[in-house]
C-alpha cells in the first residue's frame, strides 16, 4: 500500500510569488491534516479535512494560505503571496477513521521543503 505522498519535495521561490503544494493521502483515509515545521521548532498543526470538508483551520497563519481537498481525495495548499516567514517544511498526514479522534494513527508524508527568498 502506498504511503502519503507530497509534491514537490522542494520549492524555492521569491517573496511575493505563489506556490502550490500537493498531498495525496493513503487511499481510503478520510482524514487529511496539514502541518508545518519551521527550522528547529516543533511541528505545528495547520488544518484538518474530513473528506472534502474543512473540519478545523484554526492553525492556518493568515489568509494568504488556502487549502482545498478535491472530491475528498488529494489536497492542495496554496500560499499567495509567499513571505519569508512561510519558509519551512510542510507535512501532510492522513488517518483512516471518519471524524478523526484521539486514538487514530496519523501517517505522515515526506514533506515539502519551502524556501522563500
Amino acid at each position: 500500500e502506498a504511503g502519503v505522498t507530497q509534491f514537490p519535495s522542494h520549492s524555492v521561490i521569491e517573496k511575493g510569488q505563489t506556490v502550490t503544494l500537493r498531498c495525496d493521502p493513503i487511499s481510503g483515509h478520510d482524514n487529511l491534516y496539514w502541518y508545518r515545521r519551521v527550522m528547529g521548532k516543533e511541528i505545528k498543526f495547520l488544518l484538518h479535512f474530513v473528506k472534502e470538508s474543512k473540519q478545523d483551520e484554526s492553525g492556518m497563519p493568515n489568509n494568504r494560505f488556502l487549502a482545498e481537498r478535491t472530491g475528498g481525495t488529494y489536497s492542495t495548499l496554496k500560499v499567495q503571496p509567499a513571505e519569508l516567514e512561510d519558509s519551512g517544511v510542510y507535512f501532510c498526514a492522513s488517518s483512516q477513521a471518519l471524524g478523526g479522534g484521539y486514538s487514530e494513527t496519523q501517517y505522515f508524508g515526506p514533506g515539502t521543503r519551502l524556501l522563500v527568498l
Binding site: K44, H48, G100, S103, Q106, F108, G111
Partner: protein, 109 residues
Amino acid sequence: QQPVQSPQAVILREGEDAVINCSSSKALYSVHWYRQKHGEAPVFLMILLKGGEQKGHEKISASFNEKKQQSSLYLTASQLSYSGTYFCGTSGPGGKLIFGQGTELSVKP
C-alpha cells in the same frame, strides 16, 4: 497547550540507554510518539491511550502516566539507526496533533 519534552538533546554511544519525557499542563487523553530523521517523514512509533499503559516495540518502549500528565519513551541498547528527532504529540479536538518541541537524539559508534 504544547507538551514539553525533555531533554532537548541527548548524545549516546551505541548500546547506551536513554529516556525522553513528555509532560503536559492539560489532561492527556492519548500520547503519540514519532521519530523524524533529517529530510524524511515523521515515522509513527506508538500511541498510548490509557493511563498506566505501557507499550514496547523492539527496544523502544513507552509509558503513560495519566495522573501526572506525562509520558516517557525508553530507548534501550541504542543503535545508530535510533538517531533522529523524537516528538511526542497529544491529540486535540478532531484528532489534530499538538507536538512538543522535539528531542534530538544522536547515537555515535
